[in-house]
Symmetry: C3
Subunit: 252 residues, 3 copies
Amino acid sequence: MSFETLEVEARESVLYVTLNRAQKRNSINAAMVGEFHRALDQAEANPQNRVVVLRGKNGYFCTGMDFNEVSGPEGETDAQGFMDLLKRFTTTPRVVVAVVDGQVMAGGVGVAAACDLVIASKTSRFSLSEALWGLLPAIIIPFIIRRVGAQTAYRMTLTTVPVTGEEAHARGLVDELADDPERQLNLLLRRLTKVTSKTVGRIKVYFRKMWIINEAMEAAAVNENLSMMEDETVKENIRNFTEHGKFPWDSP
Amino acid sequence: MSFETLEVEARESVLYVTLNRAQKRNSINAAMVGEFHRALDQAEANPQNRVVVLRGKNGYFCTGMDFNEVSGPEGETDAQGFMDLLKRFTTTPRVVVAVVDGQVMAGGVGVAAACDLVIASKTSRFSLSEALWGLLPAIIIPFIIRRVGAQTAYRMTLTTVPVTGEEAHARGLVDELADDPERQLNLLLRRLTKVTSKTVGRIKVYFRKMWIINEAMEAAAVNENLSMMEDETVKENIRNFTEHGKFPWDSP
Amino acid sequence: MSFETLEVEARESVLYVTLNRAQKRNSINAAMVGEFHRALDQAEANPQNRVVVLRGKNGYFCTGMDFNEVSGPEGETDAQGFMDLLKRFTTTPRVVVAVVDGQVMAGGVGVAAACDLVIASKTSRFSLSEALWGLLPAIIIPFIIRRVGAQTAYRMTLTTVPVTGEEAHARGLVDELADDPERQLNLLLRRLTKVTSKTVGRIKVYFRKMWIINEAMEAAAVNENLSMMEDETVKENIRNFTEHGKFPWDSP
């Protein structure tokens, strides 16, 4: 199997997946969503595999949806597709670990939040910038609330102010704050590989019953996303950016 | 428009509202509830307005319901009226910011908790003293849980022990802890005024769908309030206080 | 009344209950569940009683179910019985305080989490080791989520890594971290004895309406427990331990 938007490497019981669109600040496009699924297929097909590690590159973990691709006619598919991907992280019988060292923006915060565990360096920064565009981080909010509660998710959405690695750790968006995330990952892997995949899968299914996210909420998230993408101001904001490189907060 | 229980001042895109019953430790009466609604009407009627700032005075942010007024025959209206006010803070298409510098007690904690953002000085103190009177902070608990989770809300209710600004920040009751809350407010306002009111309103509606507060829970809160105000011990505790200045924990 | 698995001592308005199976690392058996109920009966029968204090012994607060007893034919009763006990802690019209100084493991974390308040020393350690056995801490997860949110409960379950007293405090599993937990307890008791049992009972009933735990969730927890105890791998893991002292992570 060959990958273009990801680098994928299997080593013992771990599959290492590195986001590989550094020239696009590791933003997500439809191809990347598809390749994430293929990487998870590969992990699940290997009975020795226990853990999938997600990493960024060049100072970017992930910066969310690529606006050059979401504004097209396939917007609808993308919202559902992104939701399905995040949901798969939370249901696959593998432990999915995000190793964050750098910028995490918009949908990228959702990718991290949907992972089972997040290890981050202190210099990492997490921001939900959607509101500046007239958008909501609709798809990812359920996953962020699950980690940090309603208010911190709300505050990040409303203020768009970036959150430091330290604050993200204090609020629960990050599980382990580390000077050296890769070293911390290796410590964790020793422990994680002692739990069978069957047990991991069972834990994931069970926690879903013990928390408030359900199918109606997920459908509401997808609908909100589709509905806001139809908004004329939003469309114009995105068009101004993709066609003229102009941000909504620039003077007219 | 003239206000008696509040000081209201519009400046650019911000409406500044200062609680102005300092002689009554900024407790809430029916007149203040009505004036809060008028202040919000004023903000919503002004398309330039983006933010409503709530402030206290003389070391009191707000100390909850004025017992001299809640024990009257209009108790019923007050419970529903207070719930409606807090709900309006959480739904108005404006960002409502509480700037806290001093004591916050009982229902006053709910006023802060229902705000979109809370900036507080380190010397601020938050306490739910209701249980000492045989009362529950019924109306405000859903708003406190939304910020700090079930256990911290429960602990504050049960122990009645005041929480420092620092602990309130650690638990999420306060969003930003500041040596100089006014300076912090000004930093935040620069960011907040970049998000349109339409987007703010949309974010508020959306988060309501993503969390556990619903109309049944709000009705249960109002009912609990009404039912506990009928309790004979509670009535006597309040009467002893309003008529003789005697607290329930004083020796008989 | 005589107790074997607990030490029970009434002093003024407080009932002190010390887990007394130190030779079994204070693990829980059916006898202890029964004696907990009798201790609570005693507290509830005494109108002067306001508080029940739970303590461990010899460096163990509680280490969960005794595997030598849960593997028998009465497994079914035990799951429901343990759930009923934890539920009773959260509904009895008494304040139940856990004083933790030492190891807290598996179901023992649930005992602490179901208490109204947890005071712990900094050297205490909390761990959910169930996953190493192919098990889930099914019964206790709702109580842990109520304190720390979904993610921290999930992380502890999945990684099985022990959490220090300090981290447990930061995440809300511990309410008060103290160098001297007994001294902290005495400070707290002075405050707690000012709230009537009637009010305590009312607060407990009310908070149940304001949070997500309901009877369906409790039934799902008991069912999950029963179902996983039927798993052949789990049965073998437990049999290897009880018969040969062999842990699942030992080499074959």
